[in-house]
Symmetry: C2
Subunit: 509 residues, 2 copies
């Protein structure tokens, strides 16, 4: 029996473009993982790693036209957005190179012997070492930034871990091109190409997370797929960390004073955020708590005007379109739900953006309207109109974990008057990132970024974007009473690599 | 039906001492967790937290006589050891108080807006917040340091998390006394006593890890019990981090040159380490790779002489004694296994220390001797005699993960000649702490400590001892574009709390 074929498909037409590869068999997966494991020593030198990451960015930029063309043909995300996404991915690779060079992520901690401690402290020196081969599960909606050359790959390589990427079926050709660019960059620095493996196919993804030489996994995708892989990772004879980003509603709270102050601005801004990338962002605002009354009405009117002007768009694949059309129609059919602008199918392959409204009281108790508290992927949001602040609190208390929570407050509330601080404290337990008077779409690549939140937003407390994402792929090791001549240079007293560290309790920069 | 009674038992006689409590029902567990959850805000202030931790140490010291007497009666660990363990626990509470005061564990990271980044960076400020109520599973073998007032409790409270401790059945009376001391300390600082919950009973432990308001768990115990709870934590509708320390063989490698240089010293030192606390340490050296030939023979002879002089001891409970007696006898019956000093039963309640020898070649391939690669709790170790360095490599490659790995090298090897550095690199993947020319027993409370290693040593990459243990109970939150008047003081530009932090990429101390 021959392996199933992997086709690149154009979502604008539903037609197959080309056969890219075959689905990886269990043997193929085993071969890729063993090969990656076999070359891990080639990443041991930090200077080589950072140079490799920078060259990877250069190579991706050099292949920009081919990459963006393939990605646009496979995802319909459009050339401008994909050009930006590739630029972001290259920036991210270089940012991790800087982090590798700085070395703070090694978390060097030294204790010299101290007989006054209880019990006495021997010579102890701790830093972090790479875990080993990392499995990366690419996302549908970011063919670069959360796929083959994305944050999981970049941070794992930065940590010193080879990767085997499971390509997303929505962009297999882009995945192959990106992997080729990364491998060329590796070869330029004497790193064997097996340091970046690539496999296709659903079964291959399951094999991958179960492979004994896989030491950790990064995932961006759906709750259903992510939870299945999380469960498989936890059920292994040797369980491994599974850093999965699964799903998020990304609630927004608009205070009455904020609506009174700038109803049009908030309505228009919301329209832009919820339809960005045809609503296919994991941080799309999916539930908006807006006040009942004239100011809230005006906000909804501005939202309606702006959404009605949004052109029809093409989703990433036909299955997503089917799910979107069915999802919005099921939601719109609930009692007391209205659709000022109706989302749904448009033409043979397109969808139209829209939004639903519902009285917030309907969401305050368990019932059929709980469907509105589940993420619906695509250009739709739910505006829940509240009568009282208590209703807001009740609805917020019923939400699952989120990547983001957003507050729109008035200028007086922003200045500390009224309930702004209390509201900030109220939404903090719900999310990994709290946005005030802005929109959650757009996830900056920065040291202070947190792209991860309470389950199901993520399956761990870590972030998949930003400087600390590298921590996911390392574990600490302490050396006790170890002669200096045997110690790795990172842990020597004279600090030959000039690393930030903590010595006898004191931080040294 | 009345709940099962919880008895304190004297392992020196096997007799019940007193009824301490009743096993917690599901309702009891729910009540304890909800109560702890309800008072979490009382831990929000860091100054209150550190003062509480210091007072907890004071209160435990004030109750020292009663605590040590109860613990000795329940565990037979002896007054000197328990006095030291209590002192260690108090030192640990104060060390975490210092960490709370310093505030580096909040991991404050600030990015000011930067339009030159791709994409542009908005104002982003990230720090870590407490997860919520933590479940702590007490260990049998450390009634203070890894139980109610131990490292999991201390680090969780330091993080700002209330705890509900599941007492170990080997020391319920000690657990109640210690919990009372912690609660008195809490009350002294206006913190409701529910901040430290305590439940007894096997079923209560399972209920606890499944409770929806439990946000994370710490565990020290067996592979079997720990894995069952880990699986339950992973199978929850909302999975939680489970930081479990499950089991460890703690291999020791003695090089030929080390044996030639100081056979007697190594043999005697090993005897002390493997019989410390009647062999009931999670870091007990359970497998020793020693060279064949005269120097190795002399090491084994010194070990035999020293172990033969070790007095009989009492294990923590009758079941452990039964397991030890059965375990050593099953191991000793394997082909080519000898017992220069026979471990096993002695008297009605005691056990005798001993050790086994085996040719290392027997451990180099899968077979019945794999039993020798499993931890055997109690005063026994296995000395595997190797002919070649390749045999050492083969045996090491077959070991599961460990808390520690220990090397004994010669003074020339320590100075960098020969294979010392290569051996250090070879054992690093096996363990969380590598000890050179010392013994793994004795786990210092220090910032650089790593008490945790590859599975089954621990179920996560974290440590349960040392300064970084507090990280287990926190998650990062980032605030985007948030007005200064709404920000928590930890994240303000003027740094009113004088915290170490990273600002625009640069570390500031």
């Amino acid at each position: 029996m021959s392996a199933a074929q992997v086709w690149s498909v154009d979502p604008r037409t539903g037609k197959q473009r080309e056969q890219v590869a075959s689905e990886a068999t269990a043997q193929d997966v085993d071969r890729a993982v063993r090969a990656a494991h076999g070359v891990r020593a080639a990443l041991a030198d930090r200077a080589v790693r950072s140079a490799f990451l920078r060259t990877a960015a250069d190579r991706l930029e050099a292949a920009k036209d081919r990459l963006v063309e393939a990605a646009d043909a496979e995802t319909a995300l459009g050339v401008p957005r994909l050009t930006g996404e590739l630029a972001r991915s290259c920036y991210q690779l270089r940012a991790f190179a800087d982090i590798v060079d700085e070395g703070a992520f090694l978390d060097v901690i030294i204790n010299h012997p101290d007989d006054s401690a209880t019990p006495p402290i021997p010579d102890l020196r701790r830093y972090k070492v790479p875990l080993g081969v990392v499995a990366v599960y690419a996302a549908s909606n970011f063919p670069f930034a959360f796929s083959v050359p994305g944050g999981d790959t970049a941070s794992a390589l930065a940590a010193g871990c080879p990767v085997v990427v499971k390509a997303h079926p929505d962009h297999p050709a882009t995945s192959e091109l990106a992997a080729a660019a990364l491998r060329e960059a590796a070869a330029e620095h004497g790193i064997p190409e097996e340091v970046v493996g690539l496999v296709h196919g659903f079964d291959a993804g399951v094999e991958l997370v179960r492979h004994p030489l896989i030491t950790a996994a990064g995932f961006t995708g759906s709750v259903r797929g992510g939870r299945a892989l999380f469960d498989a990772a936890a059920a292994r004879p040797v369980p491994i960390p599974f850093h999965g980003e699964l799903g998020s509603l990304n609630p927004v709270v608009v205070t009455a004073d904020a609506a009174a102050e700038r109803a049009d601005e908030i309505g228009t801004g919301l329209a832009g955020s919820m339809t960005l990338g045809t609503g296919q962002f994991c941080v799309k605002p999916g539930l908006v708590l807006a006040p009942a009354g004239p100011a809230g009405d005006q906000m909804v009117k501005s939202l309606a005007d702006a959404v009605a002007r949004v052109p029809e768009g093409v989703l990433l694949d036909g299955r997503m379109r089917d799910n979107f059309v069915a999802g919005v129609s099921e939601r719109a059919a609930l009692p007391d739900v209205e659709a000022p602008v109706t989302p749904g199918a448009a033409g043979e392959h397109e969808v139209a953006a829209g939004f639903l409204t519902v009285p917030a009281a309907r969401l305050a108790e368990e019932g059929p309207h709980d469907l509105l508290l589940e993420e619906c992927f695509g250009p739709v949001t739910v505006v829940a109109r509240y009568e009282t602040d208590e209703e807001v609190t009740r609805v917020l208390s019923r939400l699952p974990g989120n990547l983001t929570a957003t507050l729109h407050v008035s200028s007086e509330e922003a200045a500390g008057e009224g309930s702004g601080a209390a509201l900030l404290a109220e939404v903090t337990p719900l999310a990994g990132r709290v946005v005030v008077n802005g929109w959650p779409t757009g996830v900056a690549v920065a040291y202070a970024q947190q792209h991860g939140g309470p389950y199901p937003a993520t399956t761990s407390t870590s972030t998949s974007v930003g400087g600390t994402a590298v921590e996911r792929w390392m574990r600490p090791v302490a050396y006790q009473s170890t002669p200096h001549s045997l110690l790795p240079p990172e842990l020597r007293d004279d600090n030959p690599l000039n690393l930030p560290r903590r010595v006898d309790g004191r931080l040294e920069v």
